[in-house]
């Protein structure tokens, strides 16, 4: 199809560069510089979508981000399909593939349009009222059907192959919007030395000026030169960052603004190595919002047919894109400014009839229109339109002296209807800044008032509509912002311009015959909300605008009611007999326009989703074929399968090796804190439950840390390195929080103590060598340390060297066997590990993972904090009362342990469980009950916390927290599982070597 509606000259398109694209498979051609919407209109395509609820045919309504109708999906390939894009913002590129949405099987013939015929039966709240009964049907029938019938486009099912980036930035003045006010503000702030960021959602600077035939001319004195110089100056200034195709989507506390910069969506061949979008988090000392205004539609019957457009949009298509949206046009207005569109259309060769709902139109523009021979009907309303897929005619009716539609009616044939109810300032970002809005009766609009943020508005977004005045307003705002950002301002600052409007504007609906609410007079195009729906809601008793919004869904579509909110408010206010400010506004929420998930994710995807922490020994384990598990951010070797072993077989083999020979375990992830200072022992006494005063240098002790509520928070072995120096270990997951808790007490409660804390978690690589042959393996490698049981007994600590490397050696055991933990500086971890492994080979040394470690410690009844405890377990519950320093007047958690509930005999206590069938391994987390075969609901008296198959014992073992567990030794309890209740016997939690003779070897 030819671009039959293109003008012969003018506009910002490149007429020498045709661009081919497809719309629903149809091959069409546009020009470089077109949007998808302008190219479609140039091809005479007005029908671009179907409405959400009634599936009514819809056309392009606007020329900007407020577009409610022309939502399309743009497809590059199967993985790159972006739904819900506004065709008015999609820049055309060669080969662009666009698809309409919300229609089946095709846009011209949509079976869903039956809803349109049923419209009288689908009023506001229809879904709430109808699909109530039977209740269960909601899940399997109503909701799936309703979801299938609605929906706005489909998300691609493949992972997004594009990349996204993030950037933090700071500036003195952030200017949002590069129309006349924004350009002037940026220029004015930059001239005063400010670091400026200027962003605009469009590909070019100029904002509303881009819709003018001669952009500079409307700016007043020397407008053309000023515009050219300003843009050139901003782009050349190294202290100014100009971001086009960049939407300020959210205003966050303390002047943090989220910007979404679209880098490649406009390109035919994006560079796949470069990000598709960049999300900026800009912290600005001062913000100037120059976000412009959005034209208000008029509410009249049939105002949603394709070919009914906003007057300013028609003018933009004509002047910017050289597209005549129709040849026989009718303008319907309550506002002088819209006459400009009529005049431009007339000069471009269209016939235009003007219908002005006001009593008279005597402004300069109206006079010009009359002088140029345009028919002007004043005191006239619109009572209907016709045309199935495009408007063909409208019917108008004269209003009487009281504004009632009682006069003669007339039909006007047309292919284009322009409408304008004035302008609504774009206060979205200002409102997001928690700024208050004030109603201006003169402008019939909400204007920005005070905000807790450092923000000011300029130009049309505060009601200064004319371009020349907006420029002056912007200059003033930019200078003030620079001054408030702390820059010395020696140039005279102009006053902000007064808010003004040419002619009166109105919100609400046009008068209709008989005063009856008209059918199909749309307020919210995207969610298909009519004035009748709003009146119904008010009649049904909804008083709050927030409730009306949720009941009718007005303003809740993806456009968030940019074109509809004020009309809806006016209609509800009139019905309730209140003023508009009395009814109030709904909340503006971010994002201003939809933002991709990818841009929020940024780099945080795939292997960079979270840091992956690995130990110095990790690569060795990986080469041995270890299977890893996630522990916090760490990767830990879980087991080392040999020759395709199952985990069960590998763990059995590893356990056997540790119990009979020796095993090697990477414990580097353990948290470590160096506690140093003359008051170190006092600090430890106050913090941990244990007594530390008597711990000699060169000895270790198992420490338990509670919170002040008395529950176990962490545990670990603590070694006394010197009188004033402790080497504290924590659980892997608890390292950071334990250090934070220690710092908290030290900095805020015990400021009298001379002691400091340093994290050494990553300083030391920790190698656990465990098993009866551990000493023999180690002997060949260490210097300066006597490993004999007499010199280094269980819980002994020594410093020395291993293979020439400085070492802290602890004789500790989490396995129940003779064991050592060798701490060496991390860069040496791998070399020492390999040396131990080599030295151990004659002894059958076996690397083992966390799974084996868990089994071995469970056989010994050693708890793991966070597995056998859950934040409600006291030391006594866990059978650890022996660790508490009895002489201490206080420690963290001591007072709470004295509360009666904390030593109730009915508390859950840690016990062992042995299944009646020795090979059945209980499920961790399984509930425990008193009786078999009771009918639910049964009251559980506890739950399984740890459960394994113990190869050493040739049977399963489990740890559990059971109510009054220690009084139930020998008792049979039951673990209900699907199909059977498993009988278990309560035992001591220590299953192996209860006397501890092995670890003292």
């Amino acid at each position: 199809m030819s671009q039959g509606l293109r003008t012969v000259s003018g506009g910002r398109i490149n007429r020498a560069r045709p661009v081919r694209f497809t719309f629903d498979g149809r091959e069409l051609s546009g020009l470089e510089g077109d949007t998808l919407a302008s190219a479609l209109l140039a091809n005479g395509v007005h029908l671009v979508g179907r409405s959400f609820k009634y599936h009514r045919p819809r056309g392009v309504l606007t020329a900007g981000p407020e577009e409610p109708n022309a939502l399309v999906a743009i497809r590059r390939d199967a993985a790159r399909v972006t739904p819900n894009l506004r065709a008015t913002e999609v820049e055309l590129y060669e080969g662009l593939e666009a698809h309409s949405q919300n229609r089946w099987p095709s846009l011209g013939f949509d079976t869903g349009a039956i809803n349109n015929l049923l419209a009288p039966f689908i009023p506001a709240g229809f879904y709430y009222k109808t699909f109530m009964w039977p209740r269960r049907a909601w899940q399997w029938l109503y909701e799936p059907r309703i979801r299938a019938a609605t929906g706005l486009g489909l998300a691609p099912e493949h992972p997004d192959p594009d990349s996204y980036s993030n950037r933090f930035a700071h500036c003195d003045v952030l200017v949002v919007g590069a129309g006349p006010a924004g350009l002037a503000a940026a220029q004015s702030a930059a001239a005063r030395g400010a670091r400026v960021i200027l962003c605009d959602e469009q590909p070019e600077l100029g904002g509303s000026l881009l819709g003018e035939a001669d952009p500079g001319a409307s700016l007043g004195e020397n407008g053309r030169d000023w515009l050219a110089d300003t843009i050139r100056g901003l782009l050349a200034n190294p202290r100014v960052t100009v971001l086009t195709r960049t939407t300020a989507f959210g205003y966050f506390p303390h002047n943090l603004i989220g910007l979404e910069q679209r880098l490649s969506d406009h390109l035919a061949q994006p560079d796949c190595r470069q990000p598709r979008e960049r999300q900026w988090q800009v912290r600005a000392r001062q913000v100037v919002l120059a976000t412009g205004a959005i034209e208000r539609p008029l509410v009249f019957p049939g105002n949603d047919r394709p070919g009914v457009m906003l007057a300013g949009a028609v003018r933009t298509y004509l002047n910017r894109y050289g597209v005549l949206a129709g040849r026989r046009a009718v303008l319907i207005t309550t506002h002088d400014e819209a006459y400009r569109s009529a005049l431009d259309l007339k000069r471009a060769g269209a016939t235009v009839t003007i219908v002005d709902a006001r009593n008279g139109a005597s402004g300069e523009l109206a006079e010009t229109a009359r002088r140029e021979g345009l028919a002007v009907h004043t005191a006239t309303t619109v009572i209907g339109t016709r045309g199935r897929l495009r408007v063909r005619s409208i019917r108008i009716q004269r209003l009487d002296a009281h504004g009632q539609a009682r006069g003669a009616t007339e039909r006007i044939d047309c292919d284009l209807v322009l409408m304008s109810g004035g302008y609504t300032p774009s206060v979205h970002l200002f409102s997001q800044s928690r700024g208050k809005l004030a109603w201006s009766e003169g402008l019939h609009a909400f204007l920005p008032a005070e905000s807790p943020e450092k923000v000011r508005c300029a130009g049309a977004c505060r009601g200064v509509f004319s371009a020349a005045a907006a420029r002056g307003d912007g200059e003033s705002a930019g200078a003030r912002a620079a001054r408030d950002a702390g820059l010395t301002v020696d140039i005279v600052i102009g006053e902000p311009q007064p808010a003004q409007s040419s002619g009166t504007a109105a919100a609400g609906d046009l008068p209709q015959p008989g005063g009856a609410p008209p059918a199909k007079a749309f307020v919210d195009w995207q969610n298909d909300v009519t004035s009748r729906d709003l009146l119904l809601a008010a009649r049904e008793g909804f008083r709050s605008i927030e409730h009306v919004k949720r009941y009718t869904t007005t303003g809740m579509a993806t456009d968030q009611g940019k074109t509809s909110n004020l009309n809806a408010l006016a209609i509800v206010a009139r019905q309730l007999g209140k003023s508009i400010p009395e009814v109030g506004l709904t909340t503006f929420r971010m994002p201003y326009t939809p933002v991709t998930f990818g841009s929020f994710a940024g780099y945080t995807r795939g292997e960079l989703f979270d840091p992956i922490r690995t130990t110095p020994i990790h690569d060795w384990a990986a080469r041995q074929g270890a299977v890893f598990e996630d522990v916090g951010l760490w990767k830990r070797a879980r087991y080392f399968p040999r020759n395709g072993e199952s985990m069960h077989a590998a763990v059995a083999r590893e356990c056997q090796a540790v119990r009979s020979g020796c095993g090697l375990f990477d414990a580097s992830t353990l948290g470590k804190i160096e506690v140093v200072g003359k008051d170190a022992v006092t600090f430890m006494n106050r913090l941990y439950v244990n007594g530390w005063t008597n711990l000699a240098v060169g000895r270790c002790r198992y420490g338990i840390l509670l919170r002040d509520d008395g529950f176990i928070y962490d545990d670990g072995v603590v070694a006394r390195i010197a009188e004033d120096r402790f080497h504290v270990t924590t659980t892997t997951g608890g390292a950071a929080r334990v250090l934070a808790m220690m710092e908290d007490y030290l900095q805020t409660e015990w400021t009298d103590l001379s002691v400091w804390l340093t994290s050494t978690s990553e300083q030391w690589s920790v190698i656990a060598l465990q098993g009866p042959r551990a000493r023999q393996v180690l002997e060949a490698l260490v210097q300066e340390v006597d490993l004999s049981a007499a010199a280094l007994p269980h819980m002994g600590a020594a410093t020395g060297r291993i293979c020439g490397i400085p070492m802290r050696l602890f004789r500790v055991s989490f396995t129940g066997e003779l064991g050592f933990e060798i701490n060496v500086p991390a860069d040496h971890g791998l070399a020492v590990w390999e040396a131990i492994h080599a030295a151990g080979e004659p002894h059958g040394i076996t690397p083992y993972g966390t799974e084996t470690m868990h089994v071995l410690r469970a056989e010994k009844g050693f708890v793991i904090v966070g597995q056998d405890t859950d934040g409600t377990v006291t030391p006594d519950d866990a059978g650890l009362t022996w660790a508490i320093g009895k002489q201490k007047p206080d420690f963290v958690g001591k007072r709470a342990l004295e509360r009666p509930a904390m030593h109730s005999p009915e508390r859950k206590q840690l016990v062992g469980l042995l299944t009646a069938q020795p090979h059945v391994v209980l499920e961790e987390g399984a509930q425990i009950v008193l009786d078999a075969r009771t009918t639910p609901p049964t009251r559980p008296i506890g739950h399984v916390t740890s459960s394994y198959y113990s190869a050493t014992l040739g049977r399963s073992i489990a740890l559990a927290l059971v109510r009054a567990g220690r009084s139930r030794m020998g008792q049979t309890l039951y673990v209900p599982m699907p199909g059977e209740d498993l009988a278990v016997q309560v035992t001591s939690p220590v299953f192996y070597d209860p006397k501890g003779s092995r670890l003292n070897a």
């Binding site: 993030n166 933090f168 293979c803 791998l830 070399a831």
Partner: protein, 182 residues
């Protein structure tokens, strides 16, 4: 038995144009009051300045302010014993804490005209030379990792990263560098 003290293995660092791994170093974390700091820096031949977030540097040794009672002392790897002994002598009898963290972290250098924007891909601080001048140092974050950031020259930054976070930090920088170095 073999002496392995010369065998070292640092964490993996992803290669990228603006990032260079720095060699192993002596790192000591010193805690204590102003007098402790003054004595320690004096012993190391460094100027003592009490200003927050400022580093002192001379002859390959540096002291980075990390907190009101905390400085990270850096020196060449081979000077560990010398530095340690100097400090012990200077601080004898004064309440302090001195802990070896040489292996806890590693260092990266980010340099070039785009060093600031590259770091701002994950670091939320204002890195304009007026806001973050040469000599400024601080703990901060880069994406989801904590780092110490120290501006050593107008276009050069020294990063201290805990060793297990170094692969992540270097990979984030390598990814972000793609859009800054076409």
């Amino acid at each position: 038995m073999r002496d392995l003290s010369a065998v070292r293995q640092g964490p993996y660092i992803a290669a990228s144009p603006l990032v260079r791994p720095l060699p192993p170093a002596t790192r000591l974390l010193l805690r204590g009051n102003s007098e402790v700091m003054a004595s320690a820096l004096g012993a190391l031949g460094l100027e003592f300045v009490e200003t927050a977030c400022r580093a002192a540097s001379a002859s390959g040794r540096s002291a980075l302010w990390l907190g009101p009672d905390e400085r990270l002392l850096l020196a060449p790897q081979g000077q560990y014993s010398e530095v340690f002994e100097l400090l012990c002598a200077a601080l004898a009898g004064r309440a302090h804490s001195l802990v070896d963290v040489s292996h806890r972290q590693c260092a990266l250098e980010v340099s070039g005209p785009q060093a600031g924007p590259l770091l701002n891909c994950g670091c939320p601080l204002d890195l304009d030379p007026a806001a973050f001048p040469v000599g400024m140092c601080t703990r901060t974050v880069l994406a989801k990792a904590e780092i110490v950031l120290w501006r050593t020259a107008e276009r050069s930054f020294h990063l201290e990263v805990w060793r297990s976070f170094a692969p992540y930090v270097s990979k984030v920088l390598a990814l972000a560098a793609r859009e800054l170095t076409p």
